[in-house]
Amino acid sequence: MTELLVRMIRKPQGAIGIMLLAVLAAICILGPWVAPYGPEKMDFLGRFRAPGWQNWLGADQFGRDVLSRLLTGARATVPMALAATLAGSAMGAVLGVASAYLGGKADEFIMRTNDAVMAIPGLLMALLLVSTLGNGAGNAVVAIAIAFAPGMARVTRSVALGVRNQDFVKAAVARGEGAAQIVFREMLPNVMGPIVIEATIRVSFAVMLFATLSFLGLGAQPPASEWGLMVADARQYMHRAPWILIAPSAAIALSAIAFNLVGDALRDALNPRDDR
C-alpha cells in the first residue's frame, strides 16, 4: 500500500493529484470550522463585495461570504459524488463479473439490457430518474449511481472475461463451488485494479454531474451551499460580480482534475510494466 503511494507520487501529476485530494479531504472535514463566516450569514451592506480583506473571495447577492460557502459546501458536493460513484461502481462491478461468469444466454441478456440503458446519455438518465424520484440530494445520488452502473459493468465484464479463463476459476468450478463464491471471492478481487481506476476517473464526472443536477434545480435545494447550486445562483450576476461564479466553478474544476490525476497515477502505478 505504501509502495503504491510512493509509486504514485514519483510522477509530478500523481503528486499534484494526491496533494489536491488531501486538501479537498481536509476541507470536507474541517471546512465549517475554518470558514470565517457562517455559510448563510447575510450582510446587506456587503452585497456584491469584491474580493478583499473582508471577504477573500468576495460576497454574493445577499452579502454571504463566498469562501465560507465554498468551504462548507464541499461537504455537500464531494462526499455525494463519491457515494454516487461507489454505489454505481459496486453495482456495475457485480453485474459485470456475474455476467462474465455466467456466460451464454445469461450474459447476452444482462449485457443487451445494459447496452439499452447505456444508449441513454448519463445526464438524461439522471434527469429522468430524479424527475421520477423527486428533487433532492439523496435522489440525485441514486440517479447518478444508476447512470454510472452500465458503463462500469461493461469495463468490468471485459476484464472479468480474461479472469474467467484463468485456471484458478476453472479449479473452483471443478471443485463444485457455488456461483456466489466464485463471483465474489475468486473473480472480483482480480478485477479490482481496473475498477478502482475507472471509479476514480468517474468521481470527477460525478462531481460535475451532481453540480449540473443542482444547477438545473434537481439536486441540492437553496439555500444549501452546494457548488453546482452556487454556480446556478451566480449565473444571473455574472457581469456584475464575476467572482461569485468563478470561485465555485474553479472549485468544481479543481476537484474534477484532482480525481482525474489520481486516477491516471493509479493506473500507471498499478501497471508493473510501467517501471521507469
Partner: protein
C-alpha cells in the same frame, strides 16, 4: 582464425527498485566459424539475457558491468544505432522460442521475408520474391509461392518456425542465435525442426549459439555444450563427452534428472477394480449459432478406464484432445457419452455430485494461473477443506505433505517459485482426499530438476493415499517411467492403449512409433 563470436568475461545486471540483480557473471564463451555451441540452463539462469545482449536489445534497466562481446572483428557494444541495423539480421540472426508471436500478424509471410532479404541481400523486389520461394522450398515447405501470400495465422506453428529459420538463414549471417526454437512446438514437429537445422547448418556452415533447457536434445544439435547456472558458466565440454563424463556436480544433477524410460520409478501393479470408466466421450465446445453450425467435437468417442491406484498416461500432441478429456472428466467442458464412477453413470456435468467432485481432482498445467493471485496460500488450501468437510487446522499438515514449510500458509502465490506453486496446487487437490487426480501437463512448464522432484512427490503421495492418476503429458520418456498403462491420442481419437511394458512390441500403432522416435533419446 578469428572466432565467429567471442564473449569475454561478460557481466550483466538488472537494476530494479530493490537494487541491482546479478544476471550474468564472468561469462566467457567462444564459437568458432561453423561451430554450434549449445547453452543449457534452467529458467532464470540468464541464458536468454545473453542472447538479447548479443542482439543489443537489452531492457532499459540492464547494466553491462564488465567484459566484451565480439562478433568476428566487430565490437558489438560500441556499435551505434545505424551500424547496429546493418549487423542485426545480416551478420547475426535470431530464431525465437515462440513462432506464433515472432511474425507480424498483419503482414503476409511474403512481405516479411522479402523485406528482410531486400534489406540485407540488396536485391530488388522481384529477385527477393524468387529468392524467398527458393528459401522456403529449401526448408521443406510445400508450395512456397502460396505460403508467401498467406498471413501467419493461416499456417501452423511448425511452418511458422520454418519461415523464421528460412529468413534467418536467407540473410546469410555469420552467427545465428537459437532461443529454444522447439520448446513451443510439438514433439514430432520439434524433432523435424531439429533435423532441418542439422541439414541447413551442414550446407551453410553457419555458426550458432543454441539455447535450450533440454539436455537430452543437445547431443543431436551441438558440437560443444556450455552449462550455465545463476548467470555463471559452470562447465564447457564436447557434446559427446559432457553427458558421459560430467565434471561439475550441477551438470551431474541435471543429467540425473532427465527422464529415461528404462528406469522405472513405479514397481507395483494396480488392483483390478475399475475406478472410472469413460465410454464414447465426445467433448463439445461452443454451440450452434443462428447462422453457423456447432464446431466439430474436440474428441470423438474416446474410451478410457482407470483402475484404483493405477497411473494412466495420456499422451498426444497439442490439439490431440487430451486436455479436453481432462475437462470432460472434471465437468469443465460439455460432453456426450457415459462416465461410470463408483457404480453411478454420469451423462453430463450436471450429474456430477459433490462426492464425485471430491473424488476426482485436477491439477492444471500453469501454476501461475491456477492459484488465485489475491488469496494467500492458507486460504487457497482451506477452500477445499471447507467445501468437502475438513478441518482448516490441517493446512500445515497439507503443506508438510507436499514438503513445504508450514509458514508458507501466510504467503502470496507470487512469492513462490514455479515448482513451489505447483506443490501448492497438488496440496489443494489432495486436500479433498481424492481417489483420482488428473494431472494436466503439470510438469511441462518446469525445469527438469524441479520436474523430477514433483514426480517424486506425486509418487510419494500415491503411496500414502492410494490415489490413481490420469497423467496427461507429451513427454513420452517421462510417462514411460511412471505409468502402468499409456493411452495415445491423435486428432481427438484414441489410437493406442497398452501396458507400459508392451511399448516395445511390434504391434504398436505407427503414430506411437513416430512419437517414440521423436522423443529425444536420453544420452549416456
Amino acid at each position: 582464425m578469428i572466432p565467429a563470436l567471442t564473449i569475454t568475461n561478460y557481466g550483466l545486471d538488472y537494476v530494479t527498485a530493490a537494487g541491482a540483480v546479478a544476471v550474468l557473471r564472468e561469462v566467457s564463451l567462444e564459437i568458432a566459424p561453423g561451430e554450434v555451441l549449445g547453452l543449457v540452463g534452467e529458467s532464470g539462469s540468464g541464458k536468454s539475457s545473453l542472447a538479447w545482449a548479443l542482439m543489443r536489445h537489452l531492457p532499459a534497466n540492464a547494466r553491462e558491468i564488465s567484459g566484451s562481446l565480439r562478433l568476428g572483428d566487430i565490437d558489438l557494444q560500441t556499435l551505434g544505432p545505424k551500424r547496429l541495423t546493418e549487423v542485426r539480421g545480416r551478420r547475426i540472426g535470431m530464431v525465437f522460442q515462440d513462432p506464433s508471436t515472432a511474425l507480424n500478424p498483419t503482414l503476409t509471410i511474403g512481405r516479411q521475408i522479402t523485406e528482410a532479404l531486400m534489406r540485407h541481400r540488396e536485391v530488388n523486389a522481384r529477385d527477393a520474391n524468387a529468392l524467398a520461394i527458393e528459401l522456403l522450398g529449401h526448408v521443406e515447405l510445400r508450395d512456397p509461392a502460396a505460403i508467401l501470400r498467406r498471413y501467419p495465422h493461416e499456417i501452423s506453428g511448425g511452418e511458422k518456425q520454418r519461415v523464421i529459420i528460412a529468413t534467418a538463414f536467407g540473410c546469410r549471417p555469420d552467427v545465428i542465435l537459437f532461443d529454444e526454437p522447439t520448446t513451443a512446438l510439438d514433439v514430432i514437429t520439434g524433432a523435424r525442426i531439429i533435423e532441418l537445422f542439422a541439414r541447413l547448418r551442414a550446407e551453410t556452415g553457419v555458426a550458432a549459439l543454441y539455447i535450450s533447457h533440454d539436455l537430452a536434445m543437445m547431443t543431436s544439435v551441438a558440437d560443444r555444450v556450455a552449462v550455465i547456472r545463476h548467470g555463471r558458466v559452470v562447465e564447457q565440454a564436447k557434446a559427446s563427452e559432457i553427458f558421459r563424463k560430467p565434471q561439475h556436480d550441477y551438470t551431474k544433477s541435471l543429467i540425473a534428472a532427465v527422464p529415461r524410460p528404462e528406469r522405472r520409478l513405479v514397481h507395483d501393479t494396480p488392483g483390478s477394480a475399475l475406478l472410472l470408466e469413460a465410454k464414447g466421450i465426445d467433448v463439445h465446445y461452443g454451440r450452434a449459432g443462428l447462422f453457423r453450425a456447432a464446431p466439430p467435437p474436440a474428441t470423438k468417442a474416446v474410451d478410457v478406464d482407470i483402475r484404483a491406484g493405477e497411473i494412466v498416461g495420456l499422451v498426444g500432441e497439442s490439439g490431440s484432445g487430451k486436455s479436453s478429456m481432462a475437462r470432460a472428466l472434471t465437468g469443465l467442458a460439455r460432453f456426450s457419452g457415459d462416465i461410470r464412477f463408483d457404480g453411478r453413470t454420469l451423462r453430463g456435468a450436471g450429474d456430477m455430485n459433490p462426492a464425485y467432485r471430491r473424488d476426482v481432482q485436477i491439477v492444471f498445467q500453469h501454476p501461475d494461473s491456477s492459484l488465485n493471485p489475491r488469496h494467500r496460500i492458507g486460504e487457497i488450501l482451506s477452500r477445499p477443506l471447507k467445501l468437502y468437510g475438513g478441518d482448516t487446522a490441517s493446512v500445515p499438515r497439507l503443506l508438510e505433505q507436499v514438503r513445504l514449510p508450514a509458514s508458507y500458509a501466510t504467503r502470496w502465490p507470487h512469492q513462490l517459485s514455479g515448482g513451489e506453486k505447483q506443490r501448492v496446487a497438488i496440496a489443494r487437490a489432495f486436500a479433498a482426499r481424492p481417489r483420482l487426480v488428473i494431472c494436466d501437463e503439470i510438469t511441462a512448464p518446469l525445469d527438469v530438476s524441479v520436474q523430477a522432484q514433483i514426480i517424486e512427490l506425486l509418487l510419494a503421495l500415491r503411496a500414502e493415499t492410494g490415489a490413481a492418476y490420469l497423467f496427461i503429458t507429451h513427454d513420452l520418456n517421462l510417462i514411460r517411467q511412471i505409468a502402468h498403462r499409456i493411452v495415445v491420442m491423435r486428432h481427438g481419437q484414441l489410437v493406442d492403449s497398452r501396458a507400459v511394458d508392451a511399448f516395445g512390441a511390434d504391434d504398436v500403432h505407427p503414430y506411437t512409433r513416430e512419437l517414440m522416435a521423436a522423443s529425444p533419446a536420453p544420452v549416456g
